[in-house]
Every structure is written in C-alpha cells, then in structure tokens.
Symmetry: C2
Subunit: 166 residues, 2 copies
Amino acid sequence: MSQSFALENVEVSLSPQQRFEEFLRSRGKRNTPQRRLILDQVFARHDHFDAEDLLAHLRESGVAGKVSRASLYRTLKQFVDAGLLRQMNLGGRAIYEHDYGYPQHDHLHCQKCEKLIEFSSDEVKSIREAVAREHQFRAQGHRLIIFGVCSACARPKRQKRPLDLV
Amino acid sequence: MSQSFALENVEVSLSPQQRFEEFLRSRGKRNTPQRRLILDQVFARHDHFDAEDLLAHLRESGVAGKVSRASLYRTLKQFVDAGLLRQMNLGGRAIYEHDYGYPQHDHLHCQKCEKLIEFSSDEVKSIREAVAREHQFRAQGHRLIIFGVCSACARPKRQKRPLDLV
DNA sequence: ATTTATGCAAATCCTTTGCAAATCT
DNA sequence: AGATTTGCAAAGGATTTGCATAAAT
C-alpha cells in the first residue's frame, strides 16, 4: 500500500516498510522478521498506543513470530528516530502514534475516559513560529495537549441499576 | 510575604503557606513541620524541578528537619491538588513549577541543555477555547511544549582545547 | 569471520504502598 | 482515644541494559 502526502515539504510515496528499509540501510542496520512484524502491526490501524499495549496485542493476536519485550522497546525507539512514529509522554509512560504520512495535529485528552482526540489548528503552528522567533529558539516540534472532559463523558448518563429500583 | 495576582478571576492575596493551611483545614488534614519545610523550599525560588531534585536539595541544604522520600512524594501531590504547583510530564518523570500566584504560561524545551524557557501567548488560550467548543469538550487546562534548541546551545561555541593545538 | 539483533533476566529509575511507630486533636 | 502523618523498606510499573546465543552480511 502506497500513500502520497505532502509532509514537511517533502513528497512522500514510500510505504512505512520501504521507508524503514531505507532508514536502516542508511545506517548500516538490518531489517529483521521482528521489526517487520512490529511495523506491520503498528501501521495496521491508526491509533494511540503504548509499548505494553502493543506487546500484549502482538502476543494475543497469535501472529506467527514473536517479539521479546526488549526488542519491542528497542524497535519503537527506532521507529521514532526513523520518523515513522511520534512519541509523547502521558501519565508517566510513552504513547506513540503514526507520524509518517500523517498530518500534523494536536490532542484533546479526556481525564475521565483517557481518550485522545485529535485536532489540527494552523494557528498553533504559527504561534510556534512566532514564539520561537521571539526567543531565538530553533523550534523542531511541539506538543499541545488540552485536557478536560470529552462530550461523551460530560453527558450525564445515569448509572445502570436494577429496574425494580427505578 | 504576600502577593496579589488576578488568577482565574479570583483575587489572591494569601501566601502559599496560608493558602495551603486553608486547603488542609477544608479537608480536615493537618499541617506538619515536614509540609511547611517542603513548601518553603518549593517557593523559595521560581524554577522547574522534579521530586528527586527537590529531595536532594532538601537534604544537602542541611535544613533543620528532614523529610523522607515518601512524604515528599505524598506532599507534592497535595500541592498540586491545592493548586500551589502545576505538574507536567517530561522525559518519563514529573516536573513541577509554581502555579499559585503565577501567571499562565507555556514552555520552550531545549533538547540540548534540557532547559525549560517560559513564554506566554494569549492566542494559545483562545485556540484552546475555540477547539474545545468545536469538539464540545470541557477544557480544564492545557500544556504546550515547543521543543528544539535554545539560542545558547545553537550558538556554535567551539570546543575547549589545549592552546598549543589551536 | 565479523557485525548486528534477539531474548532473557537482572538492573534501573521513578513513584507508590503497607505497616508500625509517632504526632496531632 | 481516635484520626492523620511519618519513615522505612518493600513493591510496582515502565523502560533499559548486560550478556550469551542466533542471524545476517
């Protein structure tokens, strides 16, 4: 599967696998069944996950090969270096999401259901530019998380309870 | 020492200690020498710190009393609940800074020297409002971190080396 | 042959928790 | 006395690391 997005002024048209291959090649590293397996799993769906989620998923989804915890952590780090994944810190652990071929965005974080909701705002990027300029700061990226309560959790849905008590 | 800031539409004029006293009283909790000691230390300077930094500081500064690691962690959490400190996650650990009596702001984070530089932008807050409205999200706060390289670290200052090699 | 990667278990870092002793009210 | 707090040490969760073995070049 091949995509085509304008990402950071570069036209991208390689699959994550191809992109990773190139990254590895350029550094004299090797691709392995484990790395391929993890990358497939990671790009099978677009969502947010942490290392332990993914490990559990890899294990229960009864995939052919298996991957050790150590290799998984080592590999995720490389995906970030390769620009495939974006990492953020939330509640003491690392959360990952697609970066490669995926447009820039930020998040709303519901404190009740822990859901992460994506949004994009061009203004954020322009604030970033302006602030960086003011401080002579060479900005390379940013993370904006707005936390609060999502619409679903805010909706006061009454507790489920036995009918005879209603 | 008493300050006076307009914070979230409420005129504030209590010292952190007084504010904490009230917080504790309102919850039937007690103030203790340890808590007072930590709070003094925390509000002695305006900077960013993590629990272990502070613990080391409390210990080396040969203060009269001492505080256990457990009490320190427990107390920091309460300062956050009391609205005295604001917490953020960075690089796998919790970073704290003054919240009470201190204006809202965000940060530039230098990836080289790890410094946190504060900035404030009214636009950030208005983006937050707009986005929240769009998503019917009840926003309670946000964290914006712009990461990159600060001006000091960007300045190519040459390596120090023996004179006879220059 | 030589380098790189894997898996396991141990180690580490940050933070929390159980519990008995100490301290308030 | 009754509730809250402390300190210590042990437990926990997430992530990293040392090292011997396995796989790739």
